[in-house]
């Protein structure tokens, strides 16, 4: 009995809380950095890159730890490409960065399609598909212990910068005239958010909607000041994914992939939140 709790249930619970908190925090940070409440942590391609990494590792028959390592590294690499592209074009505007994210995500998505196409349809393809839908069933203490420091440090850095990220909402020009080193602040925040998302994806596979939904629920409760919004998002994000994972285990005799539930529950909730807040899309 003790083993069931310590080896299976507890790591899974911890992983769900960590992943939910990380995705929600990186989502709310991205929304602050890009001054847009409808941005999700996937904006710069981290999830798509991670998907390619995981699929490649599955095709190479690497063990679980190999899949996690590949997902993490490819996720980070995708964001690096996204950030490098505007520099090559000598246009470092936010819009260029977002476009570059679209390009890299699109390319990664095609590569993922190719990998799925050449995968063995009986063994490899189902693994890839299940990984892409997210699950906590394979989580072990070892991966939590490896990733926790990364998440903790990135999370603390973002929390410390949360008031400065408020200033970015004034626009780059004004933020700079107020003494904020805009490009440095944005770089640090993007790096931390990317590390958080990549770590989360590592633990659970890709999980959709958390990074968009949770910040909006937090905004509805706490207002739009990042000083309140960041801690609230962490708490709600963690509890939300713990709840979803419990549902995923118990709703039917076989386990349901997490992304299916976050989509089916999350999207309608998101629609209601948007309606209630009457978000003005500019």
């Amino acid at each position: 009995m003790r083993d069931v709790v310590m080896v299976i249930r507890l790591p899974r619970t911890v992983a769900a809380i960590l992943t939910g908190s990380a995705l929600a925090l990186s989502g709310v940070a991205y929304q602050g950095i890009f001054r847009n409440p409808l941005v999700s942590p996937d904006l710069l391609g981290v999830s798509y890159g991670a998907g390619v990494g995981a699929a490649l590792a599955i095709l190479l028959h690497l063990p679980c730890i190999g899949i996690q390592a590949f997902a993490f590294l490819f996720g980070i690499t995708a964001v690096l490409f996204t950030m490098l592209f505007p520099r090559l074009l000598k246009n470092t505007s936010t819009l260029m960065l977002v476009l570059s994210g679209v390009i890299v995500s699109g390319f990664m998505n095609s590569v993922l399609g190719l990998l799925k196409y050449i995968a063995d349809t009986d063994t490899e393809l189902p693994s890839i598909v299940y990984w892409l839908m997210g699950s906590f069933s394979a989580v072990k203490w070892s991966s939590i212990i490896t990733l926790f420091p990364v998440m903790l440090v990135s999370g603390i850095i973002l929390l410390l910068f949360r008031w400065r990220i408020n200033i970015l909402s004034l626009g780059d020009t004004e933020a700079q005239t107020l003494g904020v080193n805009v490009s440095r602040l944005r770089l640090v925040s993007i790096v931390c958010s990317t590390l958080l998302t990549a770590s989360a994806v590592c633990l659970s596979g890709t999980i959709a909607w958390v990074g968009l939904l949770i910040p909006h629920i937090s905004r509805m409760l706490m207002g739009e000041d990042n000083r309140d919004l960041f801690p609230t998002s962490i708490l709600i994000g963690g509890s939300y994914l713990l709840f979803i994972d419990t549902l995923a285990r118990n709703i039917s005799s076989t386990e349901i992939p997490i992304s299916i539930l976050t989509g089916i529950i999350g999207v309608p909730v998101f629609a209601v939140v948007l309606l209630r807040r009457k978000v003005i899309l500019q």
Binding site: R35, F161, W163, N166, S169, Q176, T177, G179, D225
Partner: protein, 280 residues
């Protein structure tokens, strides 16, 4: 006694990507307690000039000195303690209260990893009440009218504790009453010892503010001098290519700048062409 210039620009030349210069050999200075108003038609480079002064744009030639020190020797954070910039009236992507917006002006004095403390908030509150906008303090910035927003933006610039305040078309998009209210505030700032530089489209505002004027021509050249000597019918008529009159109004005891007539040959021609087209 010569006053020290807070802002001194000499021989400033700027062009976007190898084209003809937007600013050509611009020289100006603003001392404490003075107002310099820059007048120029659309696209003449007024915003570009301000962009160079707040170090957002990198100019090709010339020098800008703030308190006698080269602009390039200031870090981003140091410069924000010397120059406060008031942008054109705009709205925010997120809902912040007026109080939270004004306290953002304290950023230069708050460490990168910190949030504003009690002292910062009391400074903001003090400025808000001094400007008689305490009733707005808790309202979301985005729900204010244009005139209210402009006052709040000026309050934010004031808590920045900078000697030089730069305003980009502060009377734009405001109704007539609010335009005059903002001008009054600007005059008070100068009287309190701030060095103030602003851009405007209204020659009559320039006359009301008195002080110094810079006329920026579309070719990038600028004439500066005392408003009385620069604002002449000749200069303005040439600048806007319309019939402008400067008339002394005895009741007011000042010059006013008004349009002579709008029945110019160009306007008539426009309509005659239009009616011809309709006939065809």
């Amino acid at each position: 006694m010569t006053k020290t210039a807070v802002l001194a620009v000499s021989g400033l030349t700027f062009s976007y990507t190898n084209n003809t210069p937007v600013l050509c050999d611009v020289t100006l200075s603003v001392c404490t307690g003075e107002i310099l108003t820059v007048l120029g038609p659309n696209g003449s480079g007024k915003s570009t000039l301000l962009g160079c002064i707040v170090n957002l744009l990198h100019f090709n030639k010339g020098e800008i000195a703030i308190n006698g020190k080269n602009l390039k020797s200031y870090s981003v954070s140091q410069l924000s303690r010397e120059i406060a910039y008031v942008p054109q009236v705009h709205s925010l992507g997120f809902r912040y209260s007026v109080r939270d917006y004004v306290v953002m002006g304290r950023t230069p004095y708050i460490g990168a990893l910190r949030s504003p403390k009690k002292e910062d908030y009391s400074k903001a509150d003090e400025t808000i009440s001094r400007m008689n906008i305490s009733h707005l303090s808790k309202k979301p910035f985005n729900e204010l009218s244009g005139g209210e927003r402009q006052q709040v933006q000026i309050a934010r610039a004031l808590v920045q504790d900078a000697k030089l305040i730069i305003l980009d078309e502060p009377t734009n998009h405001l109704d007539y009453g609010n335009q005059l209210k903002i001008l009054q505030i600007i005059q008070e700032l100068a009287d309190k010892g701030y060095a103030v530089m602003l851009t405007t489209h209204m020659p009559d505002h320039v006359i009301l503010l008195d002080g110094y004027t810079g006329i920026l021509h579309p070719d990038g050249h600028m004439i500066t001098g005392l408003t009385r000597s620069v604002i002449t019918e000749n200069n303005l008529g040439e600048l806007y290519s319309t019939d402008l009159r400067i008339v002394f109004v005895e009741e007011l005891g000042r010059d006013v700048c008004v349009a002579g007539t709008i029945r110019t040959p160009t306007v008539n021609k426009f309509f005659s062409n239009l009616s011809k087209e309709q006939e065809e």
